[in-house]
């Protein structure tokens, strides 16, 4: 149940899987994403409402075959250059995209969690409907037409949380995003946590994921960086700004990934590597 992150990714993420590393600006599972890159997973279909730096990294490293998303940018900064390079120039490899709206993806995750084949919403006006998987359903009572999106059922859900207890029950709080739906919609679930405690103390605004809906819990303190863990550390806004420069150039991107991710063994070495760079700068 509680295993090293290396083992969790090795045993539960397979080449070709559909993998959702979710997190809505908060609790983004960077440590798990880095481990996916270290292990050189390939042909993944990456799913996330708001792919940001960690997906930019996985796409730039050639781990992904397809991206299913609803907003792909660097929040508050601008574009994701590795994502753009893959979509616009096919580097390092062509990236198929399936694009939705936030409302559509949220409904699709909820449908997956509820074991329904589709989600229903009022939406998808505009041109996107001609370029993605959305259909129409008619209300059998009113005759109204609504949008239907196919349920999201990832092979693997990966989320980051503040705490797990010794039995593997998980508690997260602050901005909750779509993490509960992602875990419940997926066939397998990996949760990284800031700390493992003897017993969870209920928190206002928290949700609890019982151990029996999770396949692996891995300790990864600082594992959301440059995102944040509410109550543990703040968002590294400077890193998001810096990423714009780092990711613009293919070679600089690769050198950065080599130094801070591929050449580090885990989240602890990753943070040490970043600190060393600052020290020598």
């Amino acid at each position: 149940m509680i295993v090293p992150l290396r083992d969790a990714i090795r045993d539960l993420v397979r080449d070709g899987d559909t993998v959702a590393l979710e997190g809505f600006t908060h609790l983004i599972p960077h440590a798990a994403g880095h481990e996916v890159a270290r292990q050189g997973k390939r042909e993944l279909t990456l799913v996330r409402m708001t792919p940001d730096v960690v997906y930019d990294q996985l796409i730039g490293m050639g781990c992904a075959r397809k991206l299913l998303f609803s907003w792909g940018g660097n929040p508050g900064v601008g574009s994701l250059h590795r994502l753009r390079d893959a979509v616009e120039k096919g580097w390092p490899s062509a990236l198929e995209i399936e694009e939705h709206s936030h409302a559509g993806m949220a409904a699709a995750y909820a449908a997956g969690a509820a074991n329904l084949p589709f989600g229903v919403l009022r939406g998808y006006r505009g041109d996107l409907s001609a370029h993605t998987r959305v259909e129409t359903v008619t209300c059998p009572f009113t005759g109204e037409e609504l949008a239907a999106v196919p349920a999201l059922r990832p092979d693997v859900a990966v989320v980051h949380a503040q705490q797990a207890d010794l039995r593997g029950n998980v508690q997260l709080w602050g901005i909750l995003g779509v993490q509960k739906e992602t875990v419940l919609a997926a066939s397998r679930a990996i949760v990284t946590v800031e700390e493992i405690v003897d017993e969870l103390q209920p928190r206002p605004g928290a949700i609890v994921l019982p151990s029996w809906v999770i396949d692996a819990v891995s300790l990864a303190p600082g594992g959301a960086h440059p995102s944040y863990s509410h109550g543990y550390y703040d968002r590294d806004n400077d890193f998001y700004v810096a990423w714009d420069e780092i990711s613009r150039d293919r070679d600089r991107f690769r050198a950065w990934m080599q130094r801070h991710v591929l050449d580090t063994a885990d989240i602890t070495e990753y943070h040490a590597s970043l600190a060393a760079e600052v020290a020598t700068a």
Binding site: G76, S101, H131
Partner: protein, 239 residues
């Protein structure tokens, strides 16, 4: 950063102030990051202390003391009346018609208020791949009134969008760095210009033959109260 004449305020500040002035007290606002967040927070700090800020990250009634850099900054959750999941936010609160005003930006707008934040060029072979619609398509159809904030150039105010990300049915006002446009009979019409801006400047910055209202008013410059409230909100480096 550009300033209008020598008013001592930036174009962004003029935009934020003009948008904020349109937020009535008690309004429930669905807020994105950047200028919309600045405008909504400014309204709350000045004439609309009871306006409710809802961020798509799930924070309802957020009361940030400084402008968040992302829609998910921790302070939004700390100061919110409640935090809900993202699926609940879009289903119960946005689609549920609980939001009065939604702010949108974009890379392109057409004369009907349709917006493009998806792609420049062909969708399958893009010249520039933009971040995409995110919440915009359903914000544009789920809120009562859409306020658009957008810098005005011939490249952003276009005859034909490369891609329609969201539809303009509910756009009530477009606040730009040059002036104010409102829909008249479904076509965006210039109704105001900011201090130091000529109608001809706005026409020249518009990619279609811009309709001009009979009486184009001149926007009141930001007051000292508005500017000081604005500048306490703005993070270092902006404006």
């Amino acid at each position: 950063m550009s300033t209008n004449g020598d008013g001592g305020f930036s174009a962004d500040e003029m935009m934020a102030v003009e948008a904020a002035r349109r937020v009535a007290d008690g309004t429930v606002c669905f807020v994105g990051i950047g200028l919309p967040s600045l405008a909504a927070n400014l309204a709350r700090r000045t004439h609309a202390p009871d306006c409710v800020l809802v961020y798509e990250s799930g924070t309802i009634g957020a009361k940030p003391t400084k402008l968040p850099l992302s829609i998910g900054d921790g302070e939004l959750a700390d100061t919110a009346d409640t935090v809900v999941s993202v699926p609940e936010m879009f289903a119960y609160w946005l689609q549920g018609n609980r939001i009065d005003v939604g702010f949108l930006g974009a890379a392109q707008i057409d004369r009907h208020g349709n917006l493009n934040s998806t792609v420049i060029g062909d969708y399958d072979h893009p010249k520039v791949r933009l971040p995409g619609g995110g919440g915009a398509p359903e914000i544009a159809t789920g809120v009562r009134d859409v306020f658009v904030m957008l810098r005005q150039t011939p490249r952003s105010f276009v005859e034909r969008l490369d891609f329609t990300t969201s539809v303009g049915d509910r756009v009530r006002v477009v606040v730009t760095d040059l002036g104010i446009l409102e829909p008249h009979d479904g076509e965006l019409t210039l109704v105001g210009v900011h201090p130091g801006v000529d109608v001809e400047d706005v026409r020249a910055a518009t990619g279609w033959d811009l309709r001009i209202a009979g009486d184009v008013r001149i926007t009141d410059p930001p007051s000292d109260v508005e500017l000081s409230a604005l500048r306490t909100l703005e993070p270092k480096g902006r404006a």
